[in-house]
């Protein structure tokens, strides 16, 4: 059976199954288990309403539990076993990993990514949001800067491979160097340390649009009076921006910043396609992929390190959500 037919069939079964499940389970609950036409319908309706939320929630919670909660525990458990998974070695994987040069390089690079990418993308996004705020063609400009969001990391990497190409007739960087009189083309992806930044530019290029869209909406939400009052008091545009607007959208800036930080900790595609982790560009997600299928113990240990780095953000998010519900 061709995958396409299989796909159509899956849609049919999946959608039909979901609808059928929800419809039938509600029907059975109302007609069979707690029928409303019985001696005490009031009690039955109340009982049914106690169960019903769980009928609605069951498929989602089962999927979440199986595909996201279980793996957190499963991964941790697996990381305590050796490569083939038959011998318990405690924190052995973590020990060997922390003393591995490759891991240290990946950790350091990831640290650079986490520092540099969210900061630059948020800053640029804020800049564009502010600049286009009152522009007549601002929406077109925003839409074009937002566009890379739709492009895959692999596609984006290819796009930038053309920019970084080690050939003055293909790569813009080398064309510029050539224009300013450089003799030999330079493979920027092989320049130690700085090559990390060339890879980061790709993610910044993608994420600036995201930051811009959200910050631009936040800027629109600032009460007009505060800006007007500042202008009447003689504030110049820069003062208005930095002292009136930025403080009011600080909360949104933090949200954007953390969202991009989380993303940075997950993206392995760019490093994988651009350098394959060579020339000292490895980061944790790509380091993990290099062990995937080869040494599951080590791979899950790396994944768990990523999880621990993400943990503070997760706790902070949950707190925010709880505070809002109150």
């Amino acid at each position: 059976m061709s995958p396409l037919v299989q796909g159509l069939l899956t849609i049919f079964i999946g959608v039909g199954g979901c609808v059928g499940y929800f419809f039938l389970s509600n029907l059975i609950l109302d007609k069979v288990i707690f029928p409303t036409r019985s001696e005490n319908p009031g009690l039955n309706i109340n009982r049914a309403n106690l169960v019903r939320p769980w009928l609605f929630l069951f498929p989602a919670m089962a999927a979440l539990g199986l595909y996201l909660v279980y793996p957190v525990i499963g991964s941790f458990w697996r990381s305590l076993y050796n490569r083939s998974g038959d011998e318990f070695i405690g924190l052995g994987n973590y020990m060997t990993m922390f003393s591995d040069d490759g891991f240290q390089v990946a950790l350091f690079n990831n640290f650079l990514w986490v520092l540099f990418v969210p900061a630059s993308a948020t800053f640029l996004g804020l800049l564009v949001a502010q600049l286009t705020d009152r522009l007549k063609w601002g929406n077109i400009a925003k839409s074009l800067i937002f566009m890379p969001m739709a492009i895959s990391f692999v596609g984006a990497s290819l796009i930038w491979k053309f920019v970084y190409a080690n050939n003055a007739d293909i790569g813009l960087i080398n064309a510029l160097r050539d224009f300013f009189g450089a003799e030999e083309p330079l493979d920027v992806l092989q320049v130690r340390f700085w090559n990390n930044f060339f890879l980061m530019f790709i993610l910044i290029w993608i994420q600036t649009g995201f930051a811009m869209v959200i910050l631009s909406a936040a800027l629109r939400g600032i009460p007009e009076e505060t800006v007007e009052a500042a202008i009447i008091d003689g504030a110049n545009p820069f003062q208005v921006f930095f002292k009136i607007k930025v403080p009011q959208i600080m909360g949104t800036i933090v949200v954007v910043w953390t969202t991009i930080t989380i993303l940075v900790l997950k993206v392995f595609d760019i490093v994988y396609t651009m350098t394959g982790g060579n020339f000292g560009t490895e980061i944790l997600p790509s380091y993990m992929m290099s062990y995937m299928f080869r040494d599951d113990g080590r791979a899950t240990a790396v994944a768990f390190v990523i999880m621990i780095i993400v943990l503070p953000v997760m706790i902070w998010n949950i707190r925010q959500a709880r505070a809002e519900m109150r």
Binding site: F162, I214, T300
Partner: protein, 419 residues
């Protein structure tokens, strides 16, 4: 800031210019890829894509057919056109050796002579001399050769010569009989050329068509199924009262940031154990699971904002929760459903990680991202035209979705991040 007197005009110019600069900067890489995808690989390596609208100077070797060689005074003469019978172009330079392929310009003769020279100590030696001179005039020999020996002009004997015109007509003269086709070197200006050749190659002989269909096959079910499951859960979390609701919402928020990496190994083992293995079914399930937190979160946030009156009056009129959900909440939540659908579509379409882990690693089930990253970049690393074409095929659909449904995408982003 429209009302700051005096500063407006200069500042607004600065704003316009900097926004234009930023937009151009953001677009250049993509435009480069798009332009390159229409050029053949020789053109790509010959000149930058930014020069592609202009004529390209290309140097190459021509070996004309030997038909129609005539004899003249011990010399063979061959006449014809450097571009062949049907070709066209503009000769900008030519030569007869690979050493100096561009030594003469059209309208000139480029000739090699055997000539005697007199060395400073008086001994006579012979050497070769190559020079260009206008058609119809005599060659003007220099006084001395490169080593400083005096050239005895009278002894010069023509070895071979080539004259060529701008339109490509040439006349080649060579001493003795021509046995093999001579090698002539031409530099010509060829007009810019764009073609769909790369796309044809990549789609019909490279398996990209299979990858394209696979991407579709993975994406569509993985987009539709989580929406349905999430919508019911979101309704329960938004409008039903039960114990543990707060905890579940907090859990969904927490799961939003769980790194996917964590899920790969345990889930693959699980899939292997229950017999799904690496398959399309496996990747649909995986994407469904991974997409759920965002789906539930987005939809719940939206559903909570629906007017309470409508829902309560429906309930007073005797509608069950199931009816309220399907007849009122679901239709009203269309914008949020659309937002999530676009998110999930883009995310699944663009995904590399999940596809690498959950799909079989044979080429029949490669999706486009895997195909590009693992196959084309490796084996076709040097074929820039093919790479550009493939990249563009893979980003065309997301770009189309993006530009037609941007409104929903933005709305979804805002619902997900700004409170």
């Amino acid at each position: 800031m429209d009302n700051i007197a005096g500063t407006k005009s200069s500042l607004s110019w600065a704003v316009h210019i900097s926004v234009v600069a930023l937009v151009v900067l953001w677009l250049i890489p993509t435009v480069g890829l798009l332009v390159s995808s229409f050029r053949d690989r020789d053109a790509i390596t010959a000149t930058g894509w930014w020069l592609s609208p202009f004529s390209v100077e290309q140097a190459y070797r021509v070996q004309p057919e030997l038909d129609g060689v005539t004899e003249d005074n011990g010399y063979s003469v061959l006449e014809g056109n450097l571009f062949g019978a049907e070709g066209s172009g503009e000769v900008s330079g030519f030569g007869i050796t690979a050493r100096a392929p561009n030594a003469a310009s059209p309208g000139q003769v480029y000739a090699r002579f055997n000539v005697d020279v007199e060395e400073p100590d008086g001994t006579i030696d012979d050497t070769r001399l190559e020079l260009a001179y206008p058609v119809g005039s005599d060659p003007a020999f220099p006084e001395t050769d490169d080593d400083g020996n005096r050239i005895l002009t009278d002894t010069a004997v023509l070895d071979r010569s080539l004259e060529a015109q701008v339109n490509g007509d040439f006349r080649y003269v060579s001493e003795g009989e021509l046995r093999r086709a001579p090698s002539l070197y031409v530099t010509s200006l060829s007009p810019p050329r764009f073609s769909l050749e790369n796309y044809r190659t990549i789609l019909f002989s490279n398996g990209m068509d299979v990858a394209f269909i696979n991407t579709f096959t993975v994406t569509i079910p993985a987009t539709i199924i989580p929406i349905l499951i999430a919508a019911f859960a979101a309704y329960a979390l938004a409008w039903m009262d039960f114990k543990g609701r707060g905890f579940l919402i907090a859990m969904v928020v927490g799961l939003l940031v769980v790194p996917l990496q964590l899920a790969l190994v345990p889930l693959l083992q699980l899939h292997n154990k229950v017999g799904i293995g690496q398959s399309f079914l496996g990747i649909w399930l995986a994407h469904t699971g991974f997409g759920l937190p965002l789906a539930i979160y987005l939809l719940r946030n939206y559903m909570v904002g629906l007017p309470r009156d409508i829902i309560e009056s429906a309930k007073v009129d005797g509608a069950t929760d199931f009816q309220v959900f399907t007849k009122i909440v679901l239709p009203l939540s269309f914008p949020a459903l659309a937002s999530f659908a676009i998110f999930q579509f883009l995310w699944v379409w663009n995904d590399l990680l999940v596809a690498k882990v959950f799909l079989p690693s044979n080429s029949e089930s490669w999706v486009m991202t895997v195909k590009i990253a693992d196959d084309l970049l490796g084996s076709r690393g040097g074929d820039w035209g093919i790479l550009a074409g493939a990249a563009f095929i893979s980003i065309a659909v997301p770009l189309a979705v993006f530009f037609t449904m941007q409104r929903y995408l933005v709305r979804g982003l805002l619902a997900g991040s700004v409170k």
